[in-house]
Each structure stands twice: as C-alpha cells, then as structure tokens.
Amino acid sequence: MTDTVIKCESVYKIFGTNAKKMLQEANGNVDAKTFQENGCIVGVNNASFEVLKGEMLVVMGLSGSGKSTLLRCISRLTDATAGKIFIEGQDLLSLNNKELIELRRNKMGMVFQSFALLPHKTVVENIAFPLQIKGIKTKDSIKKAMEMVKLVGLDGRENYFPRELSGGQQQRVGIARSLAVEPDIWFLDEPFSALDPLIRKEMQDEFLRLQEKLQKTIMFITHDFDEALKLADRIAIMKDGIIEQLDTPANIVLNPATEYVKKFTEEVPREKVLKIEDVMEKPNNENLSDLKVLRNEIIENVAEKILTQEKSVSVIDENNQIVGTVHPSKIIHTVFGGKKSND
C-alpha cells in the first residue's frame, strides 16, 4: 500500500501525570469516566485509520472531542501516549528531534484556528518564514513567498503587518505560509472557525480551488458538520476522544452508525450532500426516459429535471456509459422521506 500517507494504529492520548501507567492497567479498554476520577483526561481514545494520498479527511467533533489533540499527535506537537503513527511508512514516534524537524520542514504544513502569525513580521516575511528556517537565502525565500502571496490573492498587501489585515486575509497568510515549503501533507486545525459566515464560505471555495490545483493529502479539523460535508472525501466524527464513525459524507448521512452521529445528520438537507450515484440502482432492462444525468452530480442540482420524468432516468459516468438508473420516486423519497422516518 504505497498510497497510504498517514496511518494510525490504536493511538491514545491521555493527559495526566500517571497516564501511561493507567493506560497499561486499562489494557486497551479505556473508559473516560474512570480516568477522569483518577485525574486523567482522555484526549484521543483508540484511534485507528488511514489517509490516502491526495485524500481529504475531515475530522469533525464538538469542542473537547479530542479532534485537535488527534491532529497534534499526528503532527507530533504532542507525543501520543500509546499507539503507532506512520507518515509515508515512517514510524513517526521513533523519529528523533532532528529527523522530526526535517520532516516538518519538507513534508508538513499546518494552518491554525487563530492564524498564529508572527506579529513582528510582514505578510511576505511571515510566508517566507518556514523557508528561511530551512536555510534558504533571504532573496530566494522572498521570491517564493511572493508567488504564494499571489496564489492566495493578497497581492499588494505583502508589506502589511498581520494586525493590519482582516481575519480572512490573515488566514490567507496562514494558508500561504503553510504551503510555502510545498508540503505533501497539509494539516488544517479549524482554519475557518474564527471567520464570519460569508468570509468562511468564500474561504471554503477558495480552499477547494487550491486543493483541486495542489492535490495535497489533507487532515482538516472542524466543528462544523456542514463544512465537513462540503469539503470532505471522508469524514471522521469524534466524540470524547473516540472516532464514532469514519466514512464518506454520503454514507454518514445515509447510514449513521451511532445515535450521536444520527443527531448531526438529522438536520442535513440530503439533496445537498448526496450524489446521484449514492441513490441509484443497478441498471436493469426497464424502460428508461431520455434524460441522462452524471453519476457525481449533487441531487439538488438535477432533482428538478428528474422529477419532470415519469420513468426512471439513466445515470452515466464520465465516459457516457450507463452505470445505473434512478426513479423519480427515489428522489422524492430522498428529499422528503428520510426526515419523516425519524419522527
């Protein structure tokens, strides 16, 4: 499996003085309550998953669910209490400080919720900072940083100080900084949470545009379920340090694994999340209408067209091959039916 970029095997992170001992005694069966009574706080509880190359994994959870802690374990900003983490097959926890620094300088980039810009450096200096830390000459690093400034659309503001920028602009600087070293792995810790809704949407679109262009391997942390649905290839939903469900957005909406996940999915307008392929049936020999829809079309966008038909509609892939069929009633059921069944 050369495709796996990040791999976690039963990662635990427990805060507290005798966390390690307690974990050994618990024998892999960690109960947050008993730990808390003994003065330990469970951050991450038995997390195992993989992130593939070019994939965007969104970790969703409310505050205190351990999502940021999980990210910090994988970037080794904190050391996991137990478990194994592999970055491109390399055992992260066995790296010494020097190797870790090398890894961060070349492979990793990270964006922070509160931007974490250096207040004494201008926009361009902030972006050039990781490059200069690597030892690249000032002139070259500034040149590269200017490219990044253009990429995130901050031209003309390169000499501003962070305090002179709006929140959205500051986060653009943060994004540019994290991309300056051209990392393979991109960590984003609630990058848009501190922004206004309109700016947030704009930044999300911008982010999708960048990702389409750059195709990084991404771990994205958010507490906003809609944001997760919009961006993710796969979503991991966390609660009390445990990953409740890890699946594609469609599967999470259609088949929530636990009650907790269900609560999130209830309010979600399915037609905005699900694609045609999520609801289509195997092609059979029934009579089809003339309308053809692409398999990866969001339902909302084609619902109106499909509903005008009486017969099933054929679903095609990019090569114009028929891969399935959808009956208008299925669409109606998807849009309205799901909610009723919850009552």
Partner: protein, 717 residues
C-alpha cells in the same frame, strides 16, 4: 444584620481598626523607653532598667514586649560580614597561575573570581571610554605599562566630539528618521558646548557596558526560567526581594566583593537591572499563544530558531519594556554608583549637590536625562525597525549611512587637526571642549535659586514650617507611638482579611524580621515618609489620570510625559526640590511625591483604558451620565489595574525615601548611607536593605493578593 450580610468584609475591617486603636491607646510608652535622636527613635534607657531592693541592685524587667521586641537579629549584620570576609579570604583556596610573577599562587576561589570579573568589566569600560575619549589603558591590557612608556605613540586617540555627534545623528536617522537624528545631534552638541563632554562620555561608556550586559543576563535568565519550572521557583523569591530592595543597599556588599570604581558600579547596576528584565522576559514569553509556538514548530524550527525567531520577537512588547527599564535603572545607578567611585556625570552631580551648587547639579542632571532619553528612543527605534526587501536601491542609497559616517569621520579629523593649529592655548575646541571652558549656565541657575529664596523666602518658609510642625511631626509621632502588638494586629489582620491565614503568616513573618532587627523605629520613620508620599501621589495621580482620560489627546500627552519623567534618573529629582526647599524633610517628601506620582498617573490611565468599550456602550445605552459611568462602571472595573499602580507607587516612594537620605533624613536610608563609608558596613547595609525590601513586600503581598481575588471576582484577566 442586613448590612453585615451584605458587606462582611467591611465589618471585619472595622473590627480590625477598633482593635488596633484600642491597643494603641491601651499600651503606654513604657517608662524604660526614651525618645531620642531628633525624635526619630525610641530606645531603652539603660539607667532605668535597674532598681535597688534591700540594698542590692535588681535588674528591672519591664514587661515591654507589647511595646517593642528585643533586637534579637542584631547578630545578623555581623554574621553576614564575617561570612563575606571568610568567603573572600579563606574559603576554597586554589592555586592560580599568576601572569606577572610567572608562578603559582594560592588564592581563595571567590577572590579570584571577583578579580577576574573585575578586570574583564574594567577592560570593557576602558575600551569604550578610550574609543570616545582616548587613553592607553586598553593597550596596556594587552601589553604592559613598561611597553607604553617606551612607546609613547601607542595610545587610542579618542574621537573628536564632532564625529561622535555626527555618528549619533546618523544612527538616529538610520533607525528612525529625521526627527530622531535632529534630537540626537542637538543632545550631543548641547553636551559638548556646555562643557560636559568628558563626564558624559564616561557615563555613556559606563552605560554602554552595563545596559547590554544586564539585557543579555536578564534575557537568558528569563528564558531559563521560562523553560524550567525549577529555575523559576529558585529565582522567584530573589526577584521579589530585589524588586523592592533599595539601590543603596546593594552598594555596600559590592564594595567588599569588588572594591570601588566603575566596574563595581557596573556589577551593582546589573544586580539591580537584571531582575525586572527577567520578570518582563518571563511575562512576555508566558503571554505567547500556544498556537504561535506550534506554528513555529510546524515550520520546522529547532529549539534555537524557535526561541530567537519566534518566541522572543513575539514577546517583543514586554521585552522592550524590559529594555526600557534596564536603561532607566542603568542611568539611575550611574549616579548612585558615584558613591563607590564611578566616574562621570553622576560624580559631578553628587559633588555639586554636596556643595549645594544647584546650578552645576542641574546641568549635570539635565545632561544625564538627555542622554537617557536619547538612548531610550534609539533602542526603541532599533527594535521597531523594518527591512525593505523590495526597494531597488543603488549602491549609494544602500550604503548612504555608512558612507556619510565615513565622511563625518574624515571631516571631524580634519577639523580637529586644523583646530590644533588654530587654538594655540592648548584647548582644541574642535576636538574636545574641556569641562571648565564650555558655556556654563550654573551661575544663572544659582542666581535664580538665590532670587527664589530672596523673593519667596517667607512664603516657602511658612509653608515649610507649617508642613513640618503641623503635618509631618504629628504623623511621625503617631507612627512611632504605635506599640508593636498593635502593628502586628493591623498587618496580620489585614493579611487575614485579604488573603486568609497564609497571607497573614507571610506578612507577619516579614514584619517580624524588621521588628527583631535593631532598626524598628527607623523602619517606622521610613514607612511614615513613604505613606505620606504615597497618599499624596495617589490623590494627585488619580485625579490627573482621571481628568486626562476624558480626552484622547490629553491621555496620550500624559502617557508621553510619564514616559519622559520615568527616564530621568531618580537622583535628578532631588535637584529642583533642593532648589526650592533646601535641605529639609520637605524636599525629600516632595521629591517622593513627584517621583511616585508617575506610576500612579500611568496606571490610572491604563486601568481606565482597559475597561472594554462594549461596556462603555452598554452603560451609555442604560442612560448613564458621564459621572455615573465613571463611578459605576469604569472605576470598579479599573480598580484592580489601578491597585497595581498603587503597588508601583509604593515601591517608587520607598526608593525615593531611601535616596532622600542623601539630603538628610532620619530613617533607614540614612543608616544605609552611613554603612557605605563603614569598613564593616556590608552586613548592616544588606540587613537594612532587607528591612526596606520587606516593608515593600508587605504592601506588595497584600495588594497583589487583593488584586488577584478581585480579578477573579470580576472575571477579568
């Protein structure tokens, strides 16, 4: 009962005061005690402590522990002296290679260390001094006196004042712009033509060694404390005591360890300047958001890069305040070090004050203050400097500062050379204007002082007499009349009400140390002077601060004024008050009031500023008047911050009271000053210093505890 439930603390305080005053009135001055020394001290009268019974003399043991405690700590100064002597002369003898005699010599370790430190710092001072003024000591350090006397050409020539002035202006321009350049030039030219060049450069060289060393030490210790809890815990008590330790008190042990001279001055300056630097470094580093640190780590910083490229620049604001403090302390100490033989403006200032030549003192003081302000502004500008990456500069533009400095050197040398032909009588004005040949305004000022005295003598005297007879003396008597039990009840009671049993024990312990020392009465006098100063300063500072806060411009103006006043070395404050009130307690108290008003004003303004603007709006929407808003919203919320100002005011007042000993007070400071000229004064000086520090710490502890509780209640941080 309703009231009691609503304000439980109020009744605790009332109860405390009632007990305190009852004790004060119930306990009479025992007959065995007498009021002596300008009514500044009670001592036990030995003549009355015995009486005769059936023809035999019986010791009379008055039960007077309620009144004063016996000086049980009298052994401490002697013990400190003996330990210092032992350290310097007998402890850990180790063989050292002696360069001069080319043989091994046995010397105590501490002595050797202090010797080496001394010669290192002396070398640094002399190096800078001789670059500025010329001399041979630096070359001697590498060769020998014999070699110098054979080669009379071998000496540093010293820079003509024109070059130094031009250099300062160019530096100012490079760091900030035309304004600072102009200011630098004016300061330098002023110093030169008023004949203060040599002492100014001596002081400057002192500071150029002391300030960077203090900065480096303070920063590194601050970083160490940030990285290790253990270091912080070890440093904390020392820092706390050093913050309230009067600067005089450190002079005395320094003489024992390092002798007299500029180097000793530099070392004490470091002792005094490093603690605030450590505290502010720590404060700044603590204040950095963890995400910034993580961002640094994720950018691939190693530990060094993280510290110097991320942490320190991000904590820049607090560290700069630290630098500012260091410079301030350095100038203060440049004057005070003159007591132990540091040369320069400070020495001239002390000399002039001793001769009551106010005019000369004023000139020296003005020079010191000007240099202080200049260095302060230069260091600030340096820290805020930005690099321009995109400017497409020509060679000339890029190096214009270096080029113009080279030109300045050239022109300066030519001028000086030409001058040596032009001025035949031995003084080359274009090289250095000698001390007695500059323009002197001393006479003018002295005449002014005389005129003030002639014109306002009666008014001033009436004021002076009134203040002393009707206000100060009764106040002092009241303080001295306080029985020790009452004092303990008051102090520990306050501690208990504010911070519980722990606080009560802490302040009680600190007070006990002073009470058991031989100087309890003197400490009371110090406290009374400080209290008087603090009360007046607070009233003034509070009023001025509140008034200024009503308008944005006056706010900024006032903060600017505070900045400038803070830069003045503390000793300078004595000059104008001596001018007006001569050598009396009034002078000291007025200096105390002026000096201590600075923090009072500053913290009032900053406290009011810290009230969130959303609250202002909320208040306005509730329809409050300006006065109501001030009383109901702003003051209560600003109070914790303002109390920190009170804390600073007390520390400043104590410092000034002690420095006022130079004019002649009857308190602890006087004894410290005496200890400087005492051969065995080190122990006394240190113990006295601790007494003063502990007075400060008692207030510090009470105020801080209160502020922390209050902040928690209000939910502000």
């Amino acid at each position: 009962m309703e009231l009691l439930k609503k304000y439980p603390k109020l009744f605790q305080w009332l109860f405390l005061l009632v007990v305190f005053f009852t004790l004060c009135f119930a306990i009479d001055v025992p007959e065995t005690y007498k009021f002596i020394r300008g009514q500044a001290e009670f001592i036990k009268d030995p003549n009355q402590s015995t009486y005769t019974l059936f023809g035999a003399e019986v010791r009379y043991y008055a039960f007077d522990v309620f009144w004063r405690l016996p000086p049980l700590l009298g052994w401490l100064p002697i013990w400190i002296n003996d330990s210092l002597f032992f350290l310097m002369n007998d402890w850990m003898p180790i063989e050292f290679w002696n360069e001069d005699t080319q043989e091994f010599k046995t010397q105590p370790l501490v002595l050797q260390i202090t010797r080496n430190l001394t010669s290192f710092i002396t070398f640094l001072i002399e190096l800078i001094r001789e670059i500025l003024l010329g001399g041979v000591e630096t070359i001697v350090a590498f060769t020998s006196w014999d070699w110098i006397s054979e080669n009379s050409w071998a000496k540093l020539p010293g820079l003509p004042w024109t070059i130094v002035a031009a250099g300062a202006a160019i530096l100012g321009y490079k760091l900030s712009g035309k304004g600072l350049a102009l200011f630098a030039a004016i300061v330098m030219i002023y110093i030169s033509i008023f004949g203060q060049w040599k002492p100014s450069m001596q002081t400057l060289s002192f500071i150029l060694v002391a300030a960077p060393l203090s900065f480096i030490f303070g920063l590194s210790l601050g970083i160490m404390a940030f990285k290790s809890k253990r270091v912080e815990k070890a440093l904390y008590p020392i820092l706390l005591v050093m913050q309230t330790m009067p600067q005089y008190a450190v002079l005395v042990p320094a003489i024992v360890l390092f002798g007299v001279g500029d180097h000793a001055g530099v070392i004490i300056t470091m002792v005094v300047a490093v603690p605030p630097m450590i505290l502010l470094t720590l404060l700044g580093l603590r204040g950095i958001s963890p995400e910034v640190i993580e961002a640094g780590r994720m950018s691939g910083c190693n530990n060094l890069q993280l510290m110097f490229k991320v942490l320190i620049p991000t904590a820049r604001r607090d560290i700069l305040i630290g630098v500012n403090q260091v410079i301030m302390v350095c100038f203060s100490m440049a004057v005070i070090s003159a007591f132990i033989g540091a040369k320069g403006l400070g020495f001239n200032l002390l000399l002039a004050l001793n001769q009551l030549n106010i005019g000369l003192a004023l000139e020296a003081g003005l020079c010191i203050s000007l240099i202080a302000i200049l260095l302060d502004k230069l260091s600030l500008a340096w820290a805020n400097k930005q690099t321009d990456y995109f400017g497409n500069l020509t060679f000339f533009q890029r190096y214009k500062n270096t080029l113009s400095f080279s030109v300045a050197i050239l022109i300066g040398i030519i001028f000086a050379y030409v001058g040596s032909f032009y001025f035949k009588e031995g003084f080359n004005y274009l090289y250095e204007i000698p001390h007695n040949k500059g323009i002197s305004t001393a006479d003018f000022w002295n005449k002014g002082v005389d005129w003030i005295w002639d014109t306002f003598f009666q008014t001033l005297k009436i004021f002076n007499t009134w203040l002393i007879v009707d206000v100060l003396q009764p106040m002092r008597a009241a303080y001295l009349r306080m029985p020790i039990v009452a004092t303990f009840v008051l102090v520990m009671g306050a501690g208990y009400i504010i911070g519980g049993i722990r606080s009560a024990l802490t302040v009680g312990g600190l007070t006990l140390f002073i009470a058991l020392s031989p100087w309890w009465d003197r400490a009371l006098v110090t406290t009374y002077m400080a209290t008087f100063g603090v009360i007046l300063s607070c009233i003034i500072g509070f009023t001025v601060g509140t008034l200024c806060f009503q308008n944005k411009h006056t706010t900024n103006f006032m903060l600017g004024v505070c900045d400038i006043f803070q830069t003045f070395p503390s000793f300078v404050y004595l000059i104008p008050v001596m001018m007006l009130f001569g050598v009396t307690d009034t002078s000291v108290l007025i200096a105390v009031v002026v000096y201590a008003t600075i923090p009072a004003t500053r913290y009032t303004i900053e406290g009011l500023r810290s009230v969130p603007s959303s609250l202002h709006d909320a208040a306005s929407m509730s329809g409050v008047t300006k006065i109501q808003r001030l009383l109901k919203i702003e003051f209560p919320l600003a109070l914790p911050h303002m109390m920190l100002g009170l804390n600073q005011t007390i520390v400043f007042a104590l410092f000034m009271v002690i420095i006022g000993a130079f004019i002649g007070t009857e308190d602890l400071g006087q004894y410290i000053l005496k200890a400087i000229s005492d051969k065995k004064g080190a122990g006394i000086g240190l113990t006295l210093g601790l007494c003063v520090a502990f007075i400060g710490l008692v207030f510090d502890h009470l105020i801080r505890t209160w502020v922390e509780k209050r902040k928690k209640q209000l939910g502000i941080d």
